[in-house]
C-alpha cells in the first residue's frame, strides 16, 4: 500500500478511536492495530506495542479510583482521602475506564503502526506542497531510536565510572546532555543536507509507482470509518 493512503487510514482509525464509545468496536480496532504492528521487525515492535498496551492498562486500572461517577452499581467503597475525596469503584467507572483505556490504545497503536510500517521517505515525496514539513516530521520520527541509543550511552557512561543513577531524579540529570547531544546531531545533519544541495531551487522527485486499487480502497475506507464512527458507533 502507498504511504499516503496508509497514513490516511491510520489517521482515520485514530480519529475513530476518539469518536467511538462502544467497547467492542474499540477492542476490535485495538486488535487489528496490534496485528498490523506485530508484522514490524521483531527488535522494534515490542517497545511500541508494549508501551501502548501498558499505558491503556494503566488507565483502566487507575482511573476508576480517581473520580466518582455517582452512577451504576457500586462494587467497592473505600476511604475518603483529602483532596481526592471518596474512593469507590462502580460499574459505570469501570466501563468508562475501559473505553478511555482502549481509546488510548487505539491512538498509540495507530501512531506505532505509522512509525513502524509506513515508508516515511515515500510519504515525504508524496507531500507535494509541504515537502519540507513532511521531511521535518520524518526526521523527528527517525530521531526517536537515536535518542534512545544516546540515552543508553549516557547512562552507561555514568555507570562506567562507578556512579549509580537512582530513580527518576537520577535519570533526569541525563536530560540536559541528551538534549545537547541531539542538537549536535541535528547540526551535523543540517550541514550534511546542505552539502547535498538541500534547499536548492529546481528540485525534482524520483518517480514512484502509481497508486494501486488497494490505495483507493484504503482511502475510501478511511472516509467511511470516520463517518460510521461519528454517526453510529
Amino acid at each position: 500500500m502507498s504511504p499516503g493512503p496508509a497514513t490516511a487510514l491510520l489517521a482515520a482509525v485514530a480519529i475513530a478511536g476518539f469518536l467511538v464509545d462502544r467497547v467492542w468496536a474499540l477492542a476490535a480496532m485495538t486488535l487489528v492495530l496490534v496485528v498490523v504492528c506485530v508484522r514490524a521487525p521483531v527488535e522494534r515492535r515490542f517497545m511500541y506495542i508494549g508501551g501502548a498496551l501498558f499505558g491503556a492498562l494503566g488507565v483502566i486500572v487507575i482511573s476508576p479510583l480517581t473520580w466518582s461517577s455517582g452512577g451504576g452499581t457500586l462494587l467497592w467503597e473505600g476511604p475518603t482521602l483529602p483532596v481526592i475525596g471518596p474512593i469507590d469503584i462502580s460499574t459505570d467507572e469501570i466501563h468508562i475506564a475501559v473505553v478511555n483505556g482502549l481509546r488510548l490504545a487505539v491512538v498509540a497503536l495507530a501512531f506505532s503502526a505509522y512509525t513502524l510500517r509506513v515508508d516515511h521517505d515515500r510519504l515525504v515525496s508524496a507531500a507535494g506542497f509541504a515537502r519540507r514539513s513532511a521531511l521535518a516530521i520524518a526526521l523527528a520520527t527517525r530521531l526517536v531510536p537515536t535518542l534512545e541509543r544516546d540515552a543508553a550511552g549516557l547512562s552507561e557512561s555514568v555507570r562506567g565510572r562507578g556512579v549509580e543513577l537512582h530513580g527518576a531524579r537520577g535519570y533526569a540529570t541525563l536530560l540536559s546532555p541528551l538534549v545537547a547531544g541531539s542538537l549536535e546531531r541535528a547540526t551535523g545533519l543540517a550541514e550534511a543536507m546542505e552539502a547535498r544541495g538541500f534547499g536548492r531551487s529546481g528540485a525534482t522527485r524520483a518517480p514512484r509507482p502509481p497508486w494501486a486499487s488497494m490505495d483507493y480502497i484504503a482511502l475510501g475506507c478511511a472516509v467511511v470509518l470516520v463517518g460510521v464512527a461519528a454517526l453510529w458507533l
Binding site: D121, R122, L154, E156, A203, T204, A206
Partner: protein
Amino acid sequence: MALASVTDLSFSYPGRIPAVRDLSLEIEAGQVVALLGPSGSGKSTLLRALAGLVPHFHGGTFSGRVVVGGLDTRTHGPADLAGTVASVFQDPEDQIVMTRVENEVAFGLENLGVPPAQIWPRTHASLAEVGAAHLAERRTVELSGGELQRVCLASALALEPQLLLLDEPTSQLDTEGADAFLVHVEQARCAVVLSEQRVDRALAIADRVIMMEEGRIVLDAPIDDARAWLTTRRPRYAGGLTALDPRQQPPVGAPLVRLDEVGFSYGSGPDVLRGESLLVHRGEIVALEGPNGSGKTTLSKIAAGLLQPGSGTMNREGRATYLSQEPGRHLVRETALDEVALGVNGDEALAAAALERFGLSFATCRHPRDLSSGERERLAIASVSVSEPDLLVLDEPTRGIDPDRKAALSEWLVEQAESGRGVLVATHDPLLPAHRRVRLGRPLEIPVAV
C-alpha cells in the same frame, strides 16, 4: 586550470582563534590527496571551505578566496556547489536523512534537479559501485556502521562530483570496514581529498600529501617526496605507527577479573557470547580482539560489571571503570571539572589534579561540548581514571584518533599497568601495546611483550 584553488585562506569560527591561516593550494582533476595532521590542525575546516560550508553554514571570519569548479565560495553557497563537490563526513549516523537506502542515495539527486528518469538508474549504479546494491531496499537504521558509510559514499558518488571530500570517513569503522571503504574511494573517478587518521591506508592510495599543523600547511608534496619527509620529520605518520619498544614483561600480579564459560544474549536475541573465558591480572594489559559482532564490547561490559552474564561466572576483585566507544559524545556535566568530579563523589581537588594530569586545566570551567574532539576524549579518560580503579576497561579507545594521540594513549596504558592496575582493551588495533591478546571467535591467545 586547477579544479580547486585556495588562495590566502584564513578562517575563525565565531569567538574562536583562527582554525586555518594563510592557506594556499591547488587541486588538479583526478588527483587523490591525503590530508594529514593532528586533531584540531584545521583539516576539517579546509574541507568545509572547499565545500562552501565555511563560511556559509558556520559563520565566522573568512578571508582569502576559494574557487571550486569555477565557482567562488564567497558568492556560491554549499547548495550551489553540491554536485561539483560531494562530501562524506565522519559519523554516518549524522548524515543519513532518509529511512531507506535507495531513497537516501536518491535524495541528493532530487535536490540537484536531476531528471526523474535518471534518478533510479544513477542511484542503483552508485550503490553497485560501492558494493552495496544488495542494501537498496534495506532500512538505514538496520545497517552497520560500515554499511552506512558505504551508503554515504554511494550518495556522494551518485552526484558525479568533480571533487570528493572525505573527512575521516573511516573513524567509526573497524579495520575490515575501513579497508573496504578505501578500496571504493580509490576507484572513484574524480579528484579526492581524504582526511584520514589511518595514515598507512591513506598514503597507499594518495598521489599527493598535504600535512597541516596548527592551521597551517607544513607539507605539500607528491607521495614519494612526502613519504621521505614524513619518515624524517614525522615518523609516526610515515606509513603508520610501529609497535612500541618492547619492555620487560611485568611480574604478573594477582587475578583481578576472571570470567569462566560466560554466555550472554540481549533480550530474546541470538547469543552474543557462548562459553567465553577471560582472565586479567594486576599489572597487565589484555587486548580483546575479534571481528565485528564477536562480542568484544559485551564481554568488556561484563568484566566491568555493567552487564550480568546470562550463564557462566564472573569474579572480580576491586573496582572497575569503563570507557565506552565515542566517549566524547557521552559527557554529562556542565563543566569539565564537574565531569571529572562525578567519579569521585564531587571531590574537586582530585578532579582538578586529574585535569592537570591530562593537560586540561584550561578547560576547568568550560562546558565539555565546547572542547575539541581530542580534548573531549582526554576528558573522558580523565573521568574514568580519576577514581584510580583497580581495573580499567576501554572499548576501542584508538578509533579515529591521530598517531600522536595514539602514541600518548599507548604510553598512558603502559603507565597504568606499571602502577599495578589491570587494563582490558577491546580493540581492532594490532599496534596497541598489550601483554596478551585474546581473540574472540576462535580459541587463540597470543602472548606478546609490551
